[in-house]
């Protein structure tokens, strides 16, 4: 019974990503899209919140949104993977529900 969480706002503008990480359960996936992809970059002060999850939650960023903003894959935090649009659909289909953190 896993949930796909989507976050579409920069973590430097809203608390959405932090709140999402605080409510994600083991086996869930957090997908950062649109301005949410800034949350996937390393060296931003979010490492602690991500480390607190202990790897029980899968973190991913939507590659087209990441590329659009000039974020190289090499800048992503360890353990954060990238998905393309088809991968987004796969995630939606493979989880029991999708929850948007607006």
């Amino acid at each position: 019974m896993a949930t796909l969480h989507t976050v579409n706002k920069s973590p430097f503008a809203t608390q959405a990503l932090l709140s999402c990480l605080g409510h994600a359960k083991a086996g869930d996936t957090v997908l950062m899209i649109e301005d949410g992809v800034y949350g996937g970059a390393s060296g931003t002060g979010l490492a602690e919140a991500v480390a607190g999850l202990g790897g029980a939650v899968t973190l991913a960023v939507l590659e087209p949104d990441m590329k659009a903003r000039g974020i190289a894959a090499s800048r992503l935090m360890d353990g954060v993977k990238t998905v393309d649009y088809a991968g987004f659909v796969e995630l939606a289909a493979s989880h029991d529900r999708t929850q948007a953190w607006l």
Partner: protein, 136 residues
Amino acid sequence: MTDGVKKFLYVNRKAPYGTIYALESLEVVLIGAAFDLDVSLAFLDDGVFQLVKSQDTKEIGVKNFSPTFRALGDYEVTKLYVEKESLAERGLTAEDLQEITYEDEDDDYAEKPSLIFVSRAEMADVMGDQDVVLSF
């Protein structure tokens, strides 16, 4: 996913008047109440501000929709989960929120509280137990 009646959760994370999200959420809840659904509402982050009592919007020229929450019981919407950490972070306690109750038709119409105060971990469990989650 369960068979039969679907569990719907409306997640409220925005303060009431700065954006239209809160009012729209309430409108959708009322529309959804016409269908045979197991409805719950979640209030966390700034969403807890929606439930604060003594709201008076006369001087900002918008409708004070907070009394509408007290009517939800008549639509069999009786589970309003409120996150304790979100209250505490904002300097609020349960006493700062309006009282919301419903009449339990299975218990001689006894008046019972609709607000259910839960921890962040319990809120995560509530979210993980739904068929559909609608965010506002």
